[in-house]
């Protein structure tokens, strides 16, 4: 029989057919389960977590399929265990960074400090998380390029996630002249903040005189905006505040020094006699 033909060791054509069938079944199950999970959990789980869950499920199915396939193609799992000790040592050294990234990737998926679509700052690199894979994470920086960051680096890095919270606060320091009315300036700034549709009513904005600086009275404005909108609001509102203050005659001063000339501290003056000679008779 053709199916009983031994190809190598005890592996027959039939075994290879079974392997192929198992592989096909694994692929079909993975595809079907991924599709089902995406549909079923679409409204219940956010997109980032859903993709991670689907990936973990897919990898698990493939690992199970692999464990079934290996004995069929002549690889004995018991033998693997023995050889695994030596091979594991060698592989361990060789793939130290890969394993490190993989473990870090798993911990990132469990801890979830970032999610797909979040705007994050990872050790000074700011970008949008495009994908979280098992070994690495892809960021799209704001100037366009994609950046692949190994998961081990992310796991040990300082991460600032700008999208974790629904609202975010930003701050301006606005210096006005000492001769200007600070109360009036505060009123103008508060009115502008209130008129802007995207600044939040609650938490309430705070506007107050923070310090009496060398050159100006410094007013601080602390404003909350939706996390997705804060940057646009910040860039838009500052110029409006500057224009509104100037319109009311309140100016933002330049650094300046006031120099006083006290009468008693003037430099001594030397009297020159009319003859052009001093008291000792020398010509000046």
């Amino acid at each position: 029989m053709m199916l009983d033909k031994v190809l190598y060791r005890s592996v027959t054509v039939f075994d290879l057919m079974v392997v192929a069938i198992i592989l096909i079944i694994a692929i079909v199950i993975t595809k079907a389960l991924s599709l089902y999970l995406r549909r079923f959990l679409k409204e219940k789980v956010n997109r980032g977590h859903l993709e991670i869950f689907v990936k973990i499920t897919s990898y698990s199915i493939f690992i199970v399929a692999l464990l079934i396939i290996l004995p069929l193609i002549g690889v004995k799992l018991s033998g693997l265990l023995v050889a695994g000790g030596i091979a594991g040592l060698a592989i361990g050294f060789a793939s130290q960074s890969v394993i490190g990234n993989l473990i870090s990737g798993l911990f990132l998926m469990i801890e979830r400090p970032i999610a797909i679509g979040n705007v994050v700052n990872i050790d000074g690199t700011v970008g949008i998380v495009e994908d979280i894979r098992i070994i690495s994470t892809t960021l799209r920086t704001f100037d366009g390029p994609f950046m692949r960051v190994p998961n081990q680096k992310i796991f040990t890095a300082n991460i600032t996630n700008y999208a974790q919270n629904v609202a975010r606060r930003f701050e301006y320091v606005i210096g006005i002249r000492y001769s200007d009315d600070a109360d009036k300036a505060i009123e103008i700034i508060k009115k502008l903040i209130e008129e802007h549709p995207l600044t939040l009513i609650s938490p309430a904005p705070m506007v107050f005189v923070d310090s009496l600086g060398d050159n100006s009275v410094n007013i601080i404005a602390r404003i909350w905006a939706p996390a997705t909108e804060w940057f646009g609001v910040k860039t838009e509102l500052l110029w409006k505040i500057k224009q509104a203050l100037e319109k009311e005659g309140i100016e933002i001063p330049f650094p300046q020094h006031v120099v006083w000339f006290g009468d008693k501290k003037r430099a001594p003056r030397f009297e020159v006699p009319e003859s052009g000679k001093n008291s000792s008779g020398e010509t000046l």
């Binding site: 219940k44 974790q164 629904v166 975010r168 549709p197 995207l198 009513i201 938490p203 909108e229």
Partner: protein, 235 residues
């Protein structure tokens, strides 16, 4: 202003101008409202246009899916008591273009003040569209282009007095009804033990004979599983 119109049409009301004119096979849409204008060329059209009040969470940006109505004065509700009050809500108007038994949203505008707020804390809270309202004990007479009426039934299920200063509604559950005089939402608010409350909008008009408005989320084919809202971060 609300209802279905045949194209070409030009509507001018209270500073709002909506104009839809045919230019050859295309349709030229223009709208002006409070100094903001939009112009669009629609390649195909059914020859009809629908103007409808919609959930007031789309302008200036669709950032929120909840509406927070803050009461001008604090309310105290007696133990096991029920109160019927009327509030106001901001009106947003959407322009729909019917096509093959479906509706496409082509524009939205409002005359009402647009402002957002945070209900809860920045970590677990929700961004809400904000509106401040007087509390009325009888149906107020309002300009239906700007403000609608919320008929709110507040039920205190606790054994103590409860102070209420605001109500948060899930916009996906809002059912807006209109007639020639007013625009309305009917809602319930159940005050619960522990300082929380559950709000829900009813699928029924304030008075019989009102027309149900088209909902934005059904037009956009969004599948919505939750239509009520649990207020757990303060009343």
């Amino acid at each position: 202003m609300f209802g279905q119109y045949d194209i070409p049409i030009r509507i001018e009301q209270e500073g709002i101008t909506v104009s839809v004119q045919k230019e050859g096979e295309n349709v030229f849409y223009m709208r002006e409202c409070l100094g903001e204008s939009t112009e669009k060329i629609l390649v195909a059209g059914s020859g009809k246009l629908l103007l409808n009040p919609v959930e007031p969470v789309n302008k200036p940006k669709a950032l929120a899916s909840h509406l927070l109505i803050e009461f001008e004065k604090t309310m105290q509700v007696e133990p096991k008591g029920t109160m019927n009050i009327f509030l106001t809500f901001p009106v947003e108007i959407a322009v729909f273009m019917p096509s093959n038994e479906e509706f496409e949203v082509i524009d939205a505008f409002t005359l009402a003040r647009q402002k957002f707020t945070l209900y809860g804390d920045p970590i677990n809270g929700v961004i809400c569209k904000y509106w401040k309202s007087r509390i009325y004990t009888a149906e107020p007479s309002l300009n239906r282009i700007q403000e609608g009426i919320v008929g709110l039934t507040i039920t205190n299920t606790t054994t103590g007095w409860v102070e209420v200063t605001k109500a948060v509604f899930n916009a996906y559950g809002m059912k807006i009804f209109y007639d020639d005089e007013k625009l309305s939402i009917k809602a319930n608010m159940k005050l619960k033990v522990g300082g929380s409350a559950e709000t829900e909008c009813m699928n029924e008009p304030l008075v019989e004979g009102m027309t149900k408005s088209l909902e934005m989320y059904t037009v956009r084919k969004l599948s919505v599983t939750k239509k009520n809202f649990i207020m757990e971060s303060g009343l």
